[in-house]
Structure formats: structure tokens, C-alpha cells
């Protein structure tokens, strides 16, 4: 029962990964692509949690913590570059 629910949730996450990637490849401005990049990294955190759950290894969550840091830092670097404040 619970495994089926996680399977469906995983399918929806993959679908949203593709939908966000559409905006990344389409996006007219760099700003739009940065938003899509941010959303893609945050979806990847969920994906890592799902992989850790499937593999049954809690230590994979360390990678997710590093991801959370990087999604923040990457967006800020690009934003500061765009507004000429680097």
C-alpha cells in the first residue's frame, strides 16, 4: 500500500521534472531559466530523498543537505551577476 503510494509520488516527481525543464529550455530571458534551475534543484532534493527511501540508506540524505545549500548559492550568484553587483 505505502509502496504503491511512493511509486505514484515518484512518477509525479519525474513528470514535474520534465515540465520544469520545458521552461528551462524555452525560457526567453536568463531570469526565466534561473527560476527553472531553482525549481529543478528543489525537485532534485525530493528525488534524492526518494532514492534514499528506495535504497534504504539514510546516509544518502547528506547529499540532499549539500544540494539545499547549492540551490541557494547558485541562484544568488546569477542574480548578483545580472544586477551588476558581484
Amino acid at each position: 500500500m505505502a509502496d504503491t503510494l511512493f511509486l505514484i509520488a515518484g512518477g509525479i516527481i519525474i513528470l514535474s521534472l520534465f515540465v520544469a525543464a520545458i521552461r528551462f529550455f524555452l525560457g526567453p530571458d536568463p531570469v526565466d531559466r534561473v527560476i527553472a534551475f531553482d525549481v529543478l534543484t528543489i525537485i532534485s532534493i525530493s528525488l534524492i530523498a526518494l532514492i534514499a527511501h528506495e535504497a534504504g540508506r539514510g546516509i544518502y540524505l547528506d547529499v540532499a543537505v549539500v544540494y539545499g545549500l547549492l540551490s541557494f548559492l547558485g541562484v544568488i550568484v546569477v542574480a548578483k551577476y545580472l544586477e551588476r553587483g558581484l
Partner: protein
């Protein structure tokens, strides 16, 4: 145009070559000889739960020493090439928003704690000196992003870097006299498997590697940041 045709022909040739390699690739079912030695004896000999760490720090420890040296040389050469011609003190940058400065003030200590966690637990969980050093350098970058005109004391990085490198080599030489060889980790007792204080001197080596890599990458990044000029 002729150039692109040549490139396409070259890529098709390389692709054919790669296809042959990928076609003959078949995953094996068991570990090869070296890997099965590490898998069988790594936990007893080194006492580290993370076998990748055991290989990086102990079995192939000399490679890691060389790698840290290469990184040091890279940082030094890049700093030499980026040497600024004059003082760029009159830079005109758009200041950060107040919210980012406050958030950076709260987050930077947290990021440093995360980096220290990653390299102290290198023998138990994924991560280690290189990753922890990179996280600490990212924390420094966040500080620089929130206040771009702030001066960073690069002599402090040089000091930390030299001392950790010195102690790293010192522990390696101490291994020759007190234990089996260069960078042998059984100078200290191995301790109980799977706890924070285990695997002999290995956590100390990884802490030193983390400090060294962190200060090297911080120095490299501040060098890139300092050469921004008004344009």
C-alpha cells in the same frame, strides 16, 4: 564550413570507436581482486566505515598528498596570472539588499558548521576533506556576495594552509617511525568501529585535508573576486 565537415568526420570516427568499447562492455558480477581485498580487510585494517575514505586516505594516501600539492600549485599559478595591475578600490557596485545581508549573517556560521560536520564524519558517512573544504569555501563566497567590497585577509588563509599541510606531512612521517609506514593510520588505537572516534589517526588527517583544501579554494575564489574591475 570545411572545418565543420572535418570535425563531423572526426566525431563519427570517435563515435564508432566508442561504440565498439561500449558494445564490448559487460558489467561483472563480482568484485575484482583489489576491490575484494579492500572489501574484506578494509574494515579491520583501517577501521573506517566508508571504504572510499579508507582508500583515499590510507591505501592511496600518497596520491591524495600529490593531489593537494597540485591544487596548491594551481591556486598559486592562477593567483600569479590574476595579479591586478593597479588598485581597484574605486569600484562601483550595486549594494546588496538588506535582507540578503541579514540572511548571510545567519547562514554563514551554519554553512561552516555543515562543512566541519562533513569532514569530521568523513570516515562514517559520504563526504570528507575535499567536500567539506568546498562547502567552507562556498560559505566564504556567500559572505563576499552579501558584501562585495569587504576586504578579506588572505594572509590568514595562507597561514592555515601552510600549518595544516605541515601537520599532514608530519603525521605521515610519524607513521614511518611509530607504525607500519608513511601515512599509516594505526598511530592511534583503532577504537570501536562506526563511532566518531575510530579509525586511528584518519579523522585527524581528513580534518587537516579539509582545512587545507578549504583555505586553498577560498584563496583562489577571493583572488578571482578581487580582480573584478569597474567596466
Amino acid at each position: 564550413m570545411v572545418r565543420k565537415i572535418f570535425v563531423i568526420i572526426l566525431l563519427i570516427g570517435l563515435g564508432w570507436f566508442f561504440y565498439g568499447m561500449a558494445d564490448s562492455f559487460h558489467g561483472s558480477d563480482s568484485l575484482n581482486m583489489t576491490a575484494s581485498y579492500y572489501a574484506e580487510n578494509g574494515a579491520e585494517e583501517v577501521g573506517a566505515a566508508n571504504l572510499v575514505t579508507a582508500i583515499v586516505v590510507t591505501y592511496r594516501g600518497l596520491d591524495t598528498l600529490g593531489e593537494v600539492t597540485i591544487l596548491f600549485l594551481t591556486a598559486a599559478i592562477a593567483a600569479f596570472f590574476l595579479k591586478s595591475k593597479e588598485e581597484f578600490s574605486k569600484r562601483d557596485v550595486k549594494p546588496s539588499s538588506e535582507l540578503l545581508q541579514t540572511a548571510a549573517g545567519m547562514l554563514v556560521p551554519l554553512i561552516f558548521v555543515l562543512g566541519v560536520y562533513v569532514f569530521v564524519n568523513g570516515h562514517l558517512s559520504p563526504g570528507g576533506g575535499f567536500q567539506g573544504g568546498a562547502i567552507i569555501a562556498s560559505g566564504l563566497v556567500l559572505l563576499l556576495l552579501s558584501k562585495p567590497l569587504q576586504k578579506v585577509n588572505s594572509r590568514f588563509f595562507a597561514l592555515v594552509e601552510s600549518f595544516s599541510g605541515l601537520f599532514y606531512v608530519g603525521i605521515g612521517v610519524a607513521g614511518i617511525f611509530l607504525a607500519g609506514g608513511f601515512l599509516d593510520n594505526s598511530i592511534l588505537p583503532l577504537g570501536e568501529f562506526g563511532t566518531l572516534l575510530s579509525a586511528g589517526i584518519l579523522p585527524v588527517i581528513y580534518i587537516l585535508v579539509g582545512l587545507k583544501v578549504g583555505s586553498e579554494l577560498s584563496g583562489l575564489l577571493t583572488k578571482f573576486q578581487e580582480t573584478q574591475e569597474e567596466n
